[in-house]
Symmetry: C2
Subunit: 433 residues, 2 copies
């Protein structure tokens, strides 16, 4: 299984570069360290530290689940101008782990801040005393199992010792691999752009394969930039761009307790600090950030558990964006639509079903449906000379694009999803191991 | 595949009789005729006529989809005190069939009313001229294909000629089989009860296997009683009892364009006409009707496409029933919960996930979870000495019962669903044939 990413270049609506792997290099002010704490049975990397030697401005969006993992509660409880480190573990979600889970995070924050302060004293001219509250955490894996505090604690010294002040594509690949759970591929993306005359970088990594449905944020994704941006600007940029990227994807309609997307800015670039979201100098950065987030989000979908096809659902000309989104996700989350696409069956009747059940009022006489460039329904009528063979042939593609025109207004929404295959059932009905 | 129905006797909450097949016999005032119109490739029965020689009072609930099939539009457009016939075809949903679909229904109503009037003249002492608007239609099958009007029209004379004024268990079985699509078993249920001192019968048949999610009604179900009840009472009884029966089941979360549940009363029993829903004499009938509807609804779930396990989700002690229902269906519709159960994995972390994403506020400290009689989470804590082996053993049962206590109020809701298996994917990704 697995979808060839280069095919997404054909996606009409977005010109995201979807080459297999871009060559990420160094972001000034960021350091990375990745080890194995043996959280899995094999000794794959499962613990990653991101260290900002001079701190980073940041902004986060979190899951909207009413049950939050303990690390997310920790992150929400801190209130800093800057963070100095992010620790990410896989295999265990630290969700529904109660007091032990939260205390573990607290003790890890104590230990990491102590070790990183020692490192500051060794390496920096004007060392900074790093505080526990300046450490963030990302956790992903099984819900409800005891948090493997000891195993992680025992690796902190090792992690700090292995910190590398510069990155190259191999280290980014290692970090991308180090945050994976059931993912089959690491997810990396990058853009470069200018703020004023100064070149800046936007690098990102993400993980996610199942339990993917948008609700503010989805899965884990971390974006790093050397740009000089205030927390307020980062926050507004992230919220603005999450809607059409990580909040536009769905693998199985399920929402995790651990979702987290964070952007970190090391402020090492030479651009003058941007404090206002309306500053025109930020426009290129805004677009480039959207590209990075969409690129990562699409990679999550394309690696969706058991996926054999990437599906783009464009819902157009609705009264408002809420309606467009409801219809798009009603289609994108329908098991009957997703199994039909897995079977390469152009069963457009199921699209009709999903539009009908979505909720918004439909004027059937105005409805149009295209599969790729092939018109099927026009003004509420099956087109004359409809030839199913042509559409059946289109369904053999790895990237299926559904265009739905509701024609009751001017608002659009695009959702991205995958098909539903036997492989999904196999992956998720396998007893945990 | 297929679930052994006798096991549902263990379902704690409802004492519905779930023996494999009950022996339905005759309902006074009802006649049935079933033929094949060759709508499928084999010559299975696919066209069923229910005829009320002296008319029937009735009440219906229909799909809440914004796209209605043409037969449902027809039914909604008529406004009668009594109906004289219901015609049900399978293979074709008559949805998104436009003007041709609606005109076909209209022409069929003309033809049927004419043929049945001829039959009245032949058979009745005081023949009644049956009107087109006194004919109802149920359609089920593929959406968007041209309605096979000619094939059906050509069978009407044959159907009317074959009308049998009495029923026995074989004819009911034939009718149950005659309205099936992807179902693997016919669904029949019956109860007898008294209104005052008079014995009355409540017989029902249903079909449904995929595209099952509650939204007012689900799938096709037809209930026949000889009781003497007004349309208003029938309507109130149906609306009241649909909530905990057909609106409490889900196979795959998808909602059809054709859902329809109708109750017909031939008024042949000797009870004096009940006109008021608060009449105490109706209480036994109310309970018996709930049993018939729940029995049918459970049979639909147990025959859900590819199902290997029947799942009861009891959500208890919520602030209100809306919250309880949201949480119950968040669990019942989660692909991750359903695949875990298919894999006999007691992955209760996924139940936590589904509770969290449901929407209502949760006080984690009050949450309790049981699988069958096995306590897993109590007051928000994994129980001490939790032994996964015991739960894993429980998961081997064909009927899995999940008990979730939210403990923020006093309202409950029970949802019924099935697991999600490879077989579901196979059935639904097979190219239509």
């Amino acid at each position: 299984m697995g979808i060839n990413l280069t095919n997404f270049l054909s996606s009409k609506s977005k010109n995201t570069r979807m080459i297999d792997f871009q060559d990420l290099d160094h972001v000034d002010g960021l350091s990375i360290s990745v080890v194995s704490a043996n959280l899995y049975k094999d000794n794959r990397d499962d613990l990653s530290m991101f260290y900002f030697r001079n701190g980073a401005n940041y902004a986060s969006v979190y899951t909207q689940s009413k049950i939050l993992s303990e690390n997310i509660k920790w992150n929400l409880n801190q209130n800093n101008q800057k963070v100095y480190s992010l620790l990410v573990n896989t295999r265990n979600a630290n969700a529904f782990t109660g007091k032990h889970g939260y205390e573990s995070i607290k003790k890890l924050a104590d230990l990491i801040s102590k070790k990183l302060t020692e490192k500051q004293i060794e390496d920096e001219e004007t060392p900074k005393k790093i505080l526990p509250k300046e450490i963030m955490f990302g956790c992903t894996g099984t819900i409800g199992e005891p948090f493997p505090y000891e195993k992680i604690k025992n690796k902190i010294t090792n992690l700090v010792n292995k910190i590398s002040y510069t990155q190259n594509k191999f280290l980014w690949m290692k970090a991308g691999l180090g945050i994976m759970t059931t993912d089959t591929k690491p997810k990396l993306a990058m853009e470069e752009c200018k703020i004023g005359n100064e070149k800046v970088k936007i690098y990102g990594i993400a993980k996610g394969s199942g339990m993917i449905h948008p609700n503010m944020a989805t899965t884990l994704a971390y974006v790093f930039t050397d740009a000089n941006l205030s927390n307020d600007v980062l926050n507004k940029l992230l919220k603005k761009n999450i809607t059409t990227t990580f909040n536009a994807i769905s693998c199985d309609g399920d929402t995790s307790t651990n979702d987290m997307v964070t952007i970190f800015a090391t402020n090492k670039a030479n651009n003058s600090l941007i404090k206002n979201i309306n500053d025109k100098k930020i426009r290129n950065f805004d677009l480039a950030l959207n590209n990075v987030l969409l690129n990562l989000a699409k990679r999550v979908v394309s690696d969706g558990e058991g996926s054999s096809k990437f599906i783009t659902v464009n819902v157009e000309k609705c009264k408002n964006e809420v309606d467009a989104k409801k219809i798009a996700f009603s289609i994108a989350n329908s098991p009957l639509v997703k199994t039909a696409i897995a079977g390469e069956d152009p069963n457009w009747g199921r699209i009709i079903m999903a539009i009908g059940k979505a909720g918004p009022e439909i004027n059937l006489k105005k409805l149009s449906i295209k599969f790729g460039n092939i018109k099927i329904v026009s003004d509420g009528q099956l087109i004359q000379n409809y030839d199913e063979k042509i559409v059946a042939n289109y369904m053999k593609n790895e990237h299926i694009e559904l265009d739905i025109e509701i024609s009751t207004g001017i608002k659009n929404f695009t959702a991205y999803t995958m098909d539903l295959t036997n492989k999904y059932i196999e992956i998720n009905s396998d007893y945990r191991s």
